[in-house]
C-alpha cells in the first residue's frame, strides 16, 4: 500500500508532468529579449495577408480594453508573466505572418467546430482575418480541383514555414484503404507524410490526431494511430481532448509567433502550459472533495449542491488539462459545471480505459502515465489533495488581476 502510494506520488510529481510557473527572472528576461527580436524580425517581413489587427478590432467595435483583457487572459494561458502582455498583443497582430495549413483525416470535424468557437475578441476575425489560414478543407470556399491546387500551392509557397494542423487519426490497416482523399485516392497516411514533410512543425489537434482517439478503440477495426506514431524528425505538438480546446490551439500558434518555437512539452508532447496540471487541481468542486462531500448518484442532494463528482466516475484526478480554468465555448461552461464529471478525454486510451459508468471508486484504473495498477480508493484522498501543482497558476492569475486594475485606473 505504501509502495503504491509512493509510486502514484512519483507519477503525479515527476518532472515531465510538472509545470514550472516561475522559472526565475533571468529566464523570463532572456525569453523576453528573444521574443522582442523575433517580433521585430516578423514585423519586417511582408504580411501574408494585408490586414491590420487593430483595424479589424476597431472596425468590429471592440474596444482596446476588451482586446487587452483577451491579451491578459492569453498571456496567463501561456503561463507567461504579465511583462509579456505587450509582446503578446504585438504577436497577435503578427499572426498574419505565420501560415497555417489544416488537414482533416479520420475525424468527426469536432475540432474544426471547436475552432470556429474560439474565444474572443471575436476570434473569428482574429483567426480568419488575421491568421493566415492557408487551407482548411471544410471552411474554405474551394472544392474539387481548386481545393487540391490551393493546398499544393500553400505547401509549396510556404515550404518550411507553415504550421500543419492535423485533425483526425490515421487508419493504417488494409494498406490505409479506410481513408483516402483527392482524385488520386491518396491514403490519409500518404497525405499526412506529404503535407508534414515541409512543415515547420506539426500540431495534432484532438485526441484522434494525438493518440488515435475513438477510432483506435478496441478492436480498432481500421488500425487507427496518432500523428506522433508516424511523423518523425520534426517537432510534433499534441493538443489532445475531445474536442481540443481552441484556446490551446491559439496558444500554440501565438507561442510560435512570439518565440519562433513550439512551447515546452511534456513526455506525451503536450504543451505544458495547458497540460501541466490536472483538472482536479483547479476544479471548482475541489473544496467539496477536500471536505469529503460527494455526489453519490445523479439527482441526489450532493448533485443539487454541486458537490464533488469523483464517486460517480469523474476522471478529473487522472486527467491533465486546463479545462477547469479555460472552460469551453468562450468560457461558458465545462462538463463538471453541469454535474457530469470529467471523462478524461485528453488522456491516451481514455476510450477504453476511462469510459463512462465506471466510477473510479470501484474500477481498476491505471494512472494516466501508466505503471500503477491500484483502485482509486486505495490512492487515498489525502494523497490526491497533497499536490500543489495548481498553486503557481493562481499566482500568475492574481498578478494579472492586479495588472488589470492598474490599467483600469489609467483609463
Amino acid at each position: 500500500m505504501v509502495d503504491s502510494q509512493d509510486m502514484v506520488k512519483k507519477v503525479f510529481t515527476q518532472k515531465s508532468a510538472r509545470i514550472d510557473t516561475n522559472k526565475g527572472e533571468e529566464y523570463y528576461n532572456c525569453l523576453f529579449e528573444n521574443a522582442k527580436q523575433r517580433i521585430s524580425m516578423l514585423q519586417k517581413q511582408p504580411a501574408l495577408k494585408d490586414i491590420d489587427m487593430i483595424d479589424v478590432i476597431e472596425s468590429e467595435g471592440i474596444n482596446r480594453r476588451d482586446f487587452m483583457k483577451w491579451v491578459s487572459a492569453t498571456t496567463a494561458t501561456l503561463m507567461l508573466p504579465p511583462m509579456f502582455e505587450p509582446l503578446v498583443a504585438q504577436a497577435t497582430e503578427l499572426m498574419n505572418r505565420v501560415p497555417v495549413v489544416w488537414i482533416e483525416l479520420q475525424d468527426c470535424a469536432g475540432n474544426s467546430e471547436a475552432l470556429l468557437r474560439s474565444s474572443a475578441p471575436t476570434v473569428d476575425d482574429l483567426l480568419f482575418d488575421v491568421l493566415s489560414l492557408e487551407f482548411h478543407e471544410t471552411l474554405q470556399a474551394a472544392a474539387g480541383h481548386d481545393a487540391d491546387r490551393q493546398l499544393e500551392e500553400a505547401v509549396e509557397h510556404f515550404k518550411g514555414k507553415y504550421l500543419l494542423f492535423v485533425e483526425g487519426a490515421i487508419p493504417m490497416a488494409n494498406d490505409g484503404k479506410y481513408g483516402t482523399i483527392g482524385a488520386s485516392g491518396e491514403t490519409f497516411h500518404e497525405h499526412l507524410m506529404r503535407m508534414s514533410k515541409d512543415a515547420a512543425a506539426v500540431v495534432a489537434v484532438g485526441t484522434c490526431a494525438t493518440f488515435g482517439g475513438i477510432p483506435a478503440a478496441a478492436p480498432n477495426p481500421t488500425g487507427a494511430v496518432g500523428v506522433m506514431d508516424l511523423v518523425k524528425g520534426k517537432p510534433v505538438v499534441n493538443i489532445p481532448a475531445c474536442p481540443a480546446n481552441p484556446a490551446n490551439m491559439v496558444g500554440v500558434i501565438l507561442h510560435f509567433v512570439l518565440t519562433g518555437q513550439i512551447p515546452e512539452l511534456d513526455s506525451l508532447l503536450r504543451p505544458k502550459f495547458a497540460f501541466g496540471y490536472r483538472i482536479h487541481d483547479n476544479c471548482e468542486r475541489r473544496a467539496h472533495f477536500d471536505a469529503g462531500e460527494f455526489v453519490e448518484e445523479w439527482g441526489d442532494i450532493g448533485a443539487q449542491n454541486n458537490w464533488c463528482l469523483y464517486k460517480v466516475g469523474c476522471k478529473g484526478p487522472m486527467t491533465f488539462n486546463n479545462c477547469s480554468i479555460i472552460r469551453y465555448n468562450e468560457g461558458t461552461n465545462w462538463p463538471v459545471g453541469v454535474g457530469r464529471g470529467c471523462i478524461g478525454c485528453s488522456e491516451p486510451d481514455f476510450w477504453d480505459k476511462y469510459a463512462y459508468e465506471r466510477p473510479m471508486a470501484n474500477a481498476n484504473i491505471k494512472a494516466p502515465t501508466g505503471g500503477v495498477e491500484k483502485t482509486v480508493d486505495e490512492f487515498g484522498l489525502g494523497l490526491l489533495t497533497a499536490t500543489t501543482i495548481g498553486i503557481g497558476l493562481h499566482a500568475v492569475a492574481s498578478a494579472i488581476a492586479g495588472k488589470k486594475s492598474e490599467q483600469n485606473e489609467e483609463e
Binding site: 469536432g110 480541383h145 481513408g179 478503440a217 475531445c242 445523479w298 478525454c345
Partner: protein, 451 residues
C-alpha cells in the same frame, strides 16, 4: 466530350463522380471514403459507454446521437416492461439541447456552405459579403452561431461532444439564471434573423403563407431567391418527392409521404442495404465505391430532412412553395431556413416551460447490467433528417449497435437499377457546378454517414 468529372472534397473527403452523355450527367456516384467503424467498436463495450462513444460519431450533430443513444437505452427498459419515469423537465432539457444544435447547424449551413456556392453563380460584387472566411455576412453568421451554441453549453457543459443525458433524465440542473442566459443567447439568433437573414419582423415572418409574403423579406433569403431563380435552381434538384420523418417532437411529426398522402410509419419496414458499400476486412468488389450504406423504407427511396418535416407537419408556407416548385434546390434550402425560424420560436417557448423545481433525474429501479438480453431503438430528428439507433444488449455488454444517419437516406448509393435520392436529383443536369449545389442542398455530412 467529357466522360467523367470528379469533384473531390465536396465535403471533407466526400467525392462526386459524374459520367456524361450528350452534355448531360448520365450517372452520378457520391463516394464517402472515410471510415472509422463505430458499430464494430461498440460491440462488447459496457452499455453506458455508448453515451461517450456515439456523440463522437459526428462533431456537428453529437447532441442528436447522444439523445438517440439515451432513448434507445430507455427503450430497453420499456421493452422489458419496466419503463422509466422521465420528468418533464428532463425531456424539455433534452429537446432544447437538440433544437439549439439544429439552429446552430442551419445558420452555419446557409452561410458557410450554400450561400458561398450560390454567390459564385453571380458576378455581382454585392454578393462578396458571402465569401468564406472574409465576407462580412460569413463572419457575422459564424459569430452568431458561436453565441447561440453557448445556450447548449449552459446545460450540456460544452459543445461539440456534449454529454449530459443519461437513462432516467439529465445530469444538469439549470437555475433560473441559467435559463434566462439561454433565452438571451437565442434572442441573438432571433435578432440576426430579423436584421440579416430575413430582414423582417420575426412574428410577421412566422405568419407567412405564400410566395407573395416571402417577397416582403429583405435579407439574405431574398439574395438567395434572386440568384436561385436567375439560375433556375427552382427547377433542378428534384428527386422522388417521397418524404420520411421518423422522429417526433414539439415541432416535428413522424410520417411519410409518397405521392400525396401522409401515412404512419411501420418501423419494421426500414432496412439497410450494403450492396454497393465497401466491407470491412474484405477486398472491394467492382461495384463497391463508398462506405455509405443505403437506407430504404419498404424497399423504396425516401428523402429526409427539413423539407420532409415541413411537409409532414403541414407547415403552410413551405407547403405552398412546394406545390409550386416541388422538391427543388430552392424549396429544399428555403424549407431548412424556414425551419430555423420555427425552431427559434419553439425553443424559446420550451425554455420558458422548464420547471426548475422538478427533479432532473430519477434513478432507474435496476441497472441495464442486470438485464439478460434485450433490444432498444430510437428515432430522432437531427439537423439533416431522421436518425435511428438500435442496440442489442446482453449481460451488461453491447452485442450489436446499428446507426442509420439522415445522410444515408439522402446520399447513400442506389441499388440495382434504382438511383439513390441525391443521385436521382443530379442525373440529367447539364453542369457540374449545378450538380455540386444540388448535392449541397441535402446538407452532406460525410463523417456521420460512414461512422
Amino acid at each position: 466530350m467529357k466522360t467523367v468529372d470528379i469533384v473531390e472534397r465536396i465535403e471533407g473527403e466526400a467525392k462526386l463522380v459524374c459520367s456524361w452523355k450528350e452534355n448531360k450527367i448520365s450517372d452520378a456516384r457520391i463516394e464517402f471514403l472515410n471510415f472509422r467503424g463505430f458499430e464494430y467498436i461498440l460491440q462488447n463495450k459496457p452499455i453506458l459507454d455508448s453515451l461517450v462513444y456515439t456523440p463522437r460519431i459526428c462533431g456537428i450533430c453529437g447532441q442528436a446521437h447522444l439523445k438517440a443513444t439515451v432513448e434507445a437505452l430507455e427503450n430497453i427498459y420499456e421493452n422489458v416492461n419496466e419503463a422509466l419515469v422521465i420528468t418533464n423537465k428532463a425531456k424539455l432539457l433534452r429537446e432544447i439541447g437538440l433544437n439549439i444544435e439544429i439552429i446552430d447547424s442551419h445558420i452555419k449551413w446557409f452561410y458557410m456552405f450554400i450561400m458561398p456556392d450560390i454567390a459564385k453563380l453571380s458576378n455581382d460584387i454585392k454578393y462578396n459579403k458571402y465569401e468564406p472566411l472574409k465576407g462580412s455576412l460569413w463572419l457575422n453568421a459564424s459569430r452568431v452561431a458561436s453565441e447561440t451554441i453557448k445556450a447548449i453549453a449552459i446545460i450540456g457543459g460544452q459543445w461539440p461532444h456534449t454529454s449530459y443525458m443519461i437513462p432516467g433524465g439529465v445530469m444538469s440542473d439549470p437555475t433560473l439564471f441559467d435559463l434566462t442566459s439561454m433565452q438571451n443567447y437565442l434572442e441573438q439568433a432571433i435578432i440576426f434573423f430579423e436584421n440579416t437573414l430575413g430582414g423582417i419582423d420575426f412574428e410577421e415572418y412566422l405568419a407567412f403563407s405564400n410566395m407573395e409574403d416571402f417577397l416582403k423579406t429583405n435579407g439574405s433569403l431574398i439574395d438567395f431567391k434572386n440568384i436561385a431563380f436567375k439560375n433556375n435552381l427552382e427547377k433542378i434538384g428534384k428527386a422522388y418527392d417521397s418524404h420520411i420523418v421518423l422522429g417526433s417532437s414539439s415541432l416535428f411529426e413522424s410520417g411519410k409521404i409518397k405521392i400525396k398522402n401522409i401515412s404512419k410509419i411501420d418501423s419494421s419496414k426500414i432496412s439497410e442495404s450494403s450492396i454497393n458499400t465497401f466491407k470491412v476486412n474484405i477486398s472491394k468488389k467492382e461495384n463497391e465505391y463508398t462506405w455509405s450504406k443505403t437506407a430504404l423504407y419498404a424497399n423504396e427511396f425516401y428523402e429526409t430532412g427539413p423539407l420532409s418535416r415541413a411537409l409532414i407537419s403541414n407547415r403552410k408556407f413551405i407547403k405552398t412553395i412546394h406545390k409550386e416548385y416541388q422538391d427543388s434546390v430552392f424549396t429544399r434550402v428555403l424549407a431548412r431556413m424556414d425551419e430555423l425560424a420555427h425552431l427559434l420560436y419553439t425553443t424559446k417557448k420550451l425554455i420558458s416551460k422548464v420547471d426548475t423545481s422538478e427533479p432532473s433525474f430519477i434513478k432507474p429501479k435496476y441497472s441495464l447490467n442486470d438485464i439478460e438480453t434485450a433490444i432498444g431503438s430510437s428515432f430522432i430528428e437531427a439537423s439533416r433528417g431522421s436518425l435511428s439507433h438500435k442496440v442489442e444488449v446482453s449481460k451488461g455488454l453491447i452485442k450489436t449497435y446499428d446507426v442509420i444517419t439522415p445522410t444515408v437516406w439522402n446520399l447513400g448509393p442506389g441499388i440495382k437499377d434504382k438511383y439513390g435520392v441525391a443521385q436521382k436529383a443530379i442525373v440529367g443536369l447539364d453542369s457540374i457546378s449545378k450538380a455540386e449545389i444540388v448535392l449541397r442542398s441535402f446538407d452532406i455530412c460525410s463523417v456521420c454517414t460512414t461512422h
